[in-house]
């Protein structure tokens, strides 16, 4: 279990996160909030990259005091190493930890993502959507039990984004893990998450914590979620304006 107890973060005198209390256990959690609210900062606090100014983060009861390895992290920018092939990028965890590469598993994952033909391609030869899939597979190869995804589809156009969302939803059970995902797309949050956390404008506070329980997670169901979409849109719109007026 991941727990934030009274976490505040101030950077250069600017309050970014204010007294955040939160518990994350299983399932897929989406975080939405206005631009610049402090979403990436929240992830960095969890990862131990940014120390909270006050309050505490604990992962499985252990307080976080610096960068640790409890999370499989997918950064906002895919950050593939351009001099490594697709397969080598996916196996980065093994490379960095001097472990033998699980070639068979890489092959399986490539197939799952429809990338079998691209195993020895360089990142520069891939489209944006392919790169994001590779970055996601790299995250899958990280054995940590909890995933942190920072706007995994932020840089993509609507269609590519849609396909990758469908792909994530259809991911085999054994590849799924407890996940915290930051997104700025309301539909994406509704479509993928079991729980949606809405953050206020900076400094980030939790202004809504909404459970999503679809009978069947597909785009037909998503089309029925207009009221939830409208509710979230209004919440965020108010926060964005609060930010603009500040």
């Amino acid at each position: 279990m991941i727990e934030l107890a009274g976490v505040s973060v101030t950077l250069d005198g600017l309050p970014i996160i204010a007294d955040l209390n939160l518990q994350l256990t299983t399932g897929f959690t989406a975080v939405i909030g206005p631009s610049g609210a402090g979403k990436t900062t929240l992830l960095k606090v969890l990862l131990g990259i940014i120390p909270p100014t006050s309050g505490q983060v604990t992962v499985a009861g252990e307080p976080v005091t610096g960068i640790h390895t409890a999370f499989a992290y997918m950064p906002q920018d895919s950050m593939l190493l351009p001099w490594l092939t697709v397969a080598q990028n996916i196996a980065l965890y093994a490379r960095v930890n001097h472990q033998p590469v699980a070639t068979k598993r890489v092959t399986e994952l490539l197939a799952t993502a429809g990338l079998s033909d691209y195993r020895d391609f360089m990142p520069a030869q891939l489209s944006g959507g392919m790169k994001q899939r590779v970055a996601f597979l790299r995250t899958v190869m990280n054995p940590a039990g909890f995933r942190l995804l920072d706007e995994p589809f932020g840089a993509l156009d609507a269609m590519t984004r849609g396909s990758l969302q469908d792909w994530l939803v259809g991911l085999p059970q054994d590849l799924q893990r407890p996940t915290l995902m930051v997104t700025h797309d309301i539909d994406e949050a509704i479509y993928l998450a079991d729980r949606i956390l809405v953050l206020s404008a900076r400094p980030a506070r939790l202004i809504a914590d909404i459970a999503v329980t679809p009978t069947q997670r597909d785009r037909h169901w998503l089309a029925t979620q207009a009221p939830l979409h409208a509710q979230l849109y209004d919440l965020l719109q108010k926060e964005s304006q609060a930010l603009a007026n500040a």
Partner: protein
């Protein structure tokens, strides 16, 4: 297309030679004042064997100096990047070292290190070290903090961060610095030889100059240019070689 591009400078070189020769012949410029390209060409051929012998010496000194500068710059660059407080102390001194005119250092180096290869190699190192270390450190410090932290969340040690991320990115800077250094380094060796040597293009030049044979001085300059370009091309190959091994590792 690419071949044509490489022919452009050759063409402009030819144009310059023609104009130069026309001026020298037309104005009857005396050879001890300014030789024409034909006279230089003649000197290049007539003294071909001798020049080749001296060019080898200069090549050797430059190569040794460049290798030493590369190794020392690589180590220094990594150290300056790894310990930032050291960087604050040492970097300004490196900048200052660049303002020292090589010509003034030369005689002092000979006084301190004698007549053999050492002072020439040191001059080459002094000219080559700075551009390499500057480009390397800049590239290392350009590596986004986010990428380093990302690797650390995978459990990468400091060493592993260097091996996996910082070194490959830093080497891009290293090689661009090396290309610059390669262009300048031959000059360092020549200055050293000019001050004192038994052989080398600088040695040849000063003797030609003292014998008022400016055509031979120019012939030696042609060789200096050729060697400099050669080193520049070699540095380019090395860079590509490194990139190849990088993209073909494991």
């Amino acid at each position: 297309m690419d071949v044509t591009k490489k022919l452009y400078p050759l063409f402009s070189f030819l144009v310059i030679c023609v104009i130069w020769q026309a001026l020298v012949s037309g104005l009857k410029v005396p050879p001890y004042f300014l030789p024409g390209p034909l006279a230089v060409g003649h000197a290049l051929v007539a003294d071909g064997g001798v020049l080749w012998h001296h060019a080898l010496t200069t090549f050797y000194e430059s190569a040794v100096g460049l290798v030493i500068a590369s190794v020392v710059a690589l180590i220094t660059g990594l150290i300056l990047d790894a310990w930032r407080w050291l960087y604050n102390f040492i970097y300004p001194l490196l900048v200052i070292s660049q303002t020292l005119p090589v010509m003034v250092l030369g005689p002092l180096l000979i006084l301190w290190f004698g007549f053999d290869l050492t002072p020439k190699v040191i001059l080459v190192v002094l000219m080559s070290f700075f551009p390499i270390v500057v480009a390397l450190v800049a590239a290392l410090q350009d590596v986004p903090e986010e990428q380093i932290q990302f690797l650390q969340t995978m459990g990468a040690s400091r060493l592993e961060v260097y091996r996996t991320l910082k070194l490959p990115l830093g080497m891009v800077g290293f090689f661009s610095g090396l290309k610059v250094a390669a262009t300048y380094c031959v000059g360092g060796a020549v200055v050293g030889e000019w001050l004192n040597a038994e052989s080398g293009l600088g040695y040849y030049m000063i003797r030609a100059k003292n014998g008022f044979e400016i055509d031979k001085v120019f012939a030696a300059i042609v060789w200096v240019v050729v060697l400099s370009l050669l080193f520049n091309v070699l540095a380019g190959w090395l860079a590509r070689g490194y990139h190849w091994t990088l993209t073909h590792s494991k």
